[in-house]
Symmetry: C2
Subunit: 320 residues, 2 copies
């Protein structure tokens, strides 16, 4: 593997000039810089990450911590991970995937945290490196999220436009910001538009949603659209409707949330509010790396930065 020195010799300059050509190109005479870059390409020079890490006191490792059981996890995280990994790779960063039962070993330059619940905040506060969350939080940490409030409004509006006349919001029974935002979006929508609707919270499992449909079937007039807070719930609702002998999307509509189960499980492809997970993963990395580069951003709360990326409706067969 070629080193800085190799490049320097071949280009008839000192190591420093080469180093500068890479890290502070504006400090090097353009023609010289070009010839250096040329030699670098010739030798297929790749800076040695370890040496850089040593002198810059950076590990070039980012930890992603998923505070949730993998067993029950959505394909969701796989998509997020893809975005995170791709962006990290581009910046020559490696990943350390920490799960619940992984040992607390090794150092890192920063953290991306997801699936956090209230009880985990004590742990978060004690971290010494920059932190970025997935999902809104009131503790002042930087985060990346999607437009939960607006997304449910959009789903609801689409259902109404499609001719459904009654809405049921099927939420997830957790007390977390994302769910609150979605419920608020739904409530505000039916109030503002004088639409008939109701709201329910269920555990996030298919069969729970299916059971719910059976047990409350009397509550659902024809032409009801179910706005669900996950694709799992959406699929369960759809199954429940079909078990009642009714048709989707003719008699009832179903809209999911997430957009990760498409084409995979459901017999009928679900119309769903699709989260741009890959983009969200990338955004989180960029935000984190910016915080790492700017040492004025400790893990302790500062001016909270947020990146909101819009989810968009992916229209399929469960709505008309």
């Amino acid at each position: 593997m070629a080193t800085l020195n190799d490049v320097a010799k071949r280009a008839n300059v000192s190591k420093m000039t080469v180093s500068r050509a890479i890290n502070h190109p504006e400090q090097v005479r353009p023609e010289l810089r070009d010839s250096i870059l040329h030699v670098m390409a010739e030798l297929n020079y790749q800076p040695n990450a370890a040496a850089r890490a040593l002198v810059s006191r950076r590990t070039r490792v980012v930890k992603l911590t998923i505070f949730e059981d993998m067993d029950t996890t959505e394909p969701y995280y796989m998509m997020l991970l893809a975005g995170i990994a791709n962006e990290l790779n581009q910046h020559q960063y490696a990943l350390q995937l920490a799960t619940r039962n992984s040992y607390e070993v090794g150092e890192c330059d920063g953290y991306i945290l997801t699936g956090i619940r209230q009880k985990n905040y004590a742990w978060v506060e004690q971290l010494k490196q920059p932190v970025v969350f997935f999902g809104r939080n009131q503790q002042g940490y930087d985060y990346v999220d999607t437009n939960n409030y607006q997304a449910i409004q959009d789903s609801s509006a689409y259902a109404i436009q499609s001719g459904y006349t009654n809405l049921v919001f099927v939420g997830i029974a957790v007390d977390e910001p994302f769910e609150q935002d979605r419920e608020r979006g739904f409530r505000d929508f039916i109030t503002a538009n004088q639409v008939s609707g109701q709201l329910v919270q269920l555990a996030n499992h298919c069969h729970v949603a299916t059971d719910y449909v059976r047990q409350h079937w009397a509550d659902f007039p024809s032409n009801t659209a179910f706005i669900c807070a996950s694709d799992r719930l959406g699929i369960g609702i759809e199954d429940g409707i079909i078990l009642q002998g009714k048709r989707v999307p003719e008699d009832y509509g179903v809209i999911g949330f997430d957009g990760v189960l498409l084409n995979q499980i459901a017999s009928k492809r679900l119309t769903t509010m699709k989260q741009p997970l890959e983009a969200m993963g990338r955004a989180a990395v960029r935000l984190l790396l910016a915080n790492i580069a700017n040492p004025g951003s400790p893990a302790t709360p500062h001016d909270q930065e947020k990146i909101i990326i819009n989810s968009r409706l992916s229209i399929a067969e469960s709505t008309r």
Copy 2:
């Protein structure tokens, strides 16, 4: 952060003695070693990975490459990843998750490869670091796999024991070793046990399996058990049976493969051949790190090492 030097001073020895106490403890007088270890604990000393990497010419990064579209990916990989990540963490290694469209950047000490198809082997051959595969391969690379052949025999045997009298193996229409092994297991089983059975290959989607059941319903006498090569297919088959107005497990049995969708999607929990994915991930890492530590193992084929970890039947509601 405490350095080797800090420990050395406090322990009244030279840096080298401390270094040796860590890496070659047998070369240090026991009492001295103990006192050094004591000081290390006192100072909460953690070796600097970058400095080690620099001098040892190791990156302490392992690349995991998934040659498959994330979009269509199984939760499968998430479990694998958890195992890999946990084991890497314990060895102070970081991960670089390479996906199809991630740039080929950065160095690493070794590769874990999964989802490889024939056309990718050219790329694999040109790698300069040790490689471990997920799944059997005939190219001579080390691998970790589950007992595909035996697993299908076990599933089949269980179905017969449970009183089903006809077996259908529902395979995945790919020409890969894992599928060949499973089919071979099935064929050998019905031959050896004189069981009535048939074999089919489908694309790995729920609805394909459901359609298959409808179209070939006449082929399936009551008391047939479907031995499926994935949980997705199993769920699709089950749906198909129910749509025919029959009962599972009373009239028909279904056994899946993988064990990653349990409790999530299916209304009825699937009996499935559960792969020990976490353990397989860990095993792959251990195998790879052994190859990295032993420099006599280049990426090019050598004596092929394999680790086979048994899948075990997880009995649920889709068999009696």
